[in-house]
Symmetry: none
Subunit: 309 residues, 2 copies
């Protein structure tokens, strides 16, 4: 188990992954394009190197032992890294700019990632850019699993921040979106008590925005809205607001998109007397992972956006 490092091969990880995925040695063997006995021998050798069984054999297949599970987990991220390596190297060889994968929370995507990507496109050609939009916990998880080069996200509670390299971002300020002829538009900056009694369109419970809004209700001593439509879809929100007097909290970035101040659109974004602020999101990457030049470029572009908007 000591000079184990040199006795392990990529193949072993592929095998573990395949068995863990399929639950059957024969299927795993097929995936590796070898016969079942060959796979059996590979596994036997691997288990002897590790010094412990990795899978328990039942009559109908195999399931991982706890050790096998940890190994399978690691095999997954290892092989994903390898995959990325191959992509990047392949891109470099054929003269393309490469690949960058970025995850973002909604507000960040609209406000920062999209313009940064547009800028990046101007100065590179053949770059392969992936943008995911997801909640913070999903993003952080993906980052840890090597699915993203970096993410624009909050740091969820309970996450060890030491493993990340963080560039601090801007806070998200909430405004209230309503249709143009909504009664609330007659007031100036909204007091909390005005928020009571309306139907709401808002993100699911436990999302940062929902929490930030609920916090205001609690601290103002007014009761939570009883009529709520839960959605993350802007389309649904707009459709709903257009035909009812419902109100919806949105970030400033989204507000600028949907209802720019001074415009004559169908919606109006109202400010609150005391602004509601969501936990800020940051540019987060893994300390252990060195970013590709392309990823660095995109990250820097996004970061520039923080200060210039």
């Amino acid at each position: 188990m000591q000079n184990l490092a040199n006795r392990l091969q990529l193949r072993d990880f592929r095998l573990v992954q395949a068995i863990a995925d399929t639950g059957q040695l024969a299927l795993a063997a097929e995936r590796l394009a070898v016969t079942q006995p060959a796979a059996s021998r590979l596994l036997a050798r691997l288990e002897s190197v590790i010094g412990a069984p990795l899978f328990i054999r039942h009559p109908k297949g195999m399931t991982p032992t706890p050790i096998g599970e940890t190994l399978a987990r690691n095999a997954n991220s290892l092989l994903r890294s390898l995959d990325q390596t191959l992509n990047e190297t392949g891109a470099a060889v054929s003269g393309r700019a490469g690949t960058v994968r970025v995850g973002s929370v909604t507000g960040g995507a609209v406000g920062f990632v999209v313009p940064a990507v547009q800028n990046l496109k101007k100065i590179t050609s053949g770059a392969d850019i992936h943008v995911d939009v997801a909640p913070s916990d999903v993003l952080i998880n993906g980052l840890l699993h090597g699915e993203y080069d970096f993410v624009l996200s909050r740091i969820p509670a309970g996450t060890d921040p030491r493993q990340f390299s963080v560039k601090r971002g801007r806070v998200e300020v909430i405004r209230i979106l309503v249709r143009r002829d909504h009664p609330l538009t007659r007031f100036g900056p909204l007091k909390p008590k005005y928020l009571e009694g309306w139907e709401w369109v808002i993100q699911a419970p436990h999302t940062p925005m929902r929490q930030a809004v609920e916090e205001v209700f609690y601290s103002s001593g007014i009761s939570l809205p009883s009529e709520i439509v839960n959605t993350t879809s802007l389309l649904v929100m707009i459709g709903y607001l257009a035909s009812t007097d419902a109100i919806a909290p949105i970030t400033r970035e989204v507000a600028d998109l949907v209802a720019p101040d001074g415009s004559e659109g169908r919606f109006v974004a109202l400010d609150l007397e005391e602004p509601i602020i969501i936990n800020p999101y940051h540019l987060i990457s893994l300390k252990t992972h060195t970013l590709s030049p392309l990823a660095i470029r995109l990250r820097d572009l996004i970061f520039e956006g923080f200060s210039t908007s």
Copy 2:
């Protein structure tokens, strides 16, 4: 360049990393513990697989090409991941890390699980330890459903013991808890007949302890207590005993906690002339379930506790 995946090996990454680090093939070769020509051949093969030169040779060494740099960067994170994998797996194999879930009956939790967990913590890092306390039937059920690695429990009637691997545990001895100025404290070891006539605080009917106590009443020919408070809550028990002359049977382990011998607390634990003994509980695990090394460690520690106390 397509079926490249299978032609790359961990070794190749080590080589690239070593060359990038040292800038010289001979030094890199040394690091990989091979001769310079061997390293040269490795590199040549790798470059032919990739289809492009990775390093430019000059008279004083090598420097990476852009592609080589890409590869070196990825090699770094890849090998770091590998290292992490090895650590984690090694920790799992040796039982320094991992997850263990254990369920226990009350007496076992206080007497054995807690000290064993404390000992286990001394030799682990980052281990994930879960302890549940519940009645035996719940524990066994949980064990069968894979919720626990093992349990410290009795074997309920009607359970097929063949599916379990059982390490016999210790018997639970009952003492009688009363407040310090209780009349019974004037006697030496209690005879059964002294137990008659008092108000009792005791667990619900059909629990092992209740059964053990009732058994004594029957066999001694004295009548069952007529005034009974049923509770499993230590808090209720103590509150009740403090203000009345009620008496309560408790296990020795709990007694050591609440009323250590020789202490001057508010309560006294009395022994019986003929000790009352409850059905013993055992260390029970599923035959079909392989325990993680960490779980085995904890189980062994608990088992040691059986014999040394």
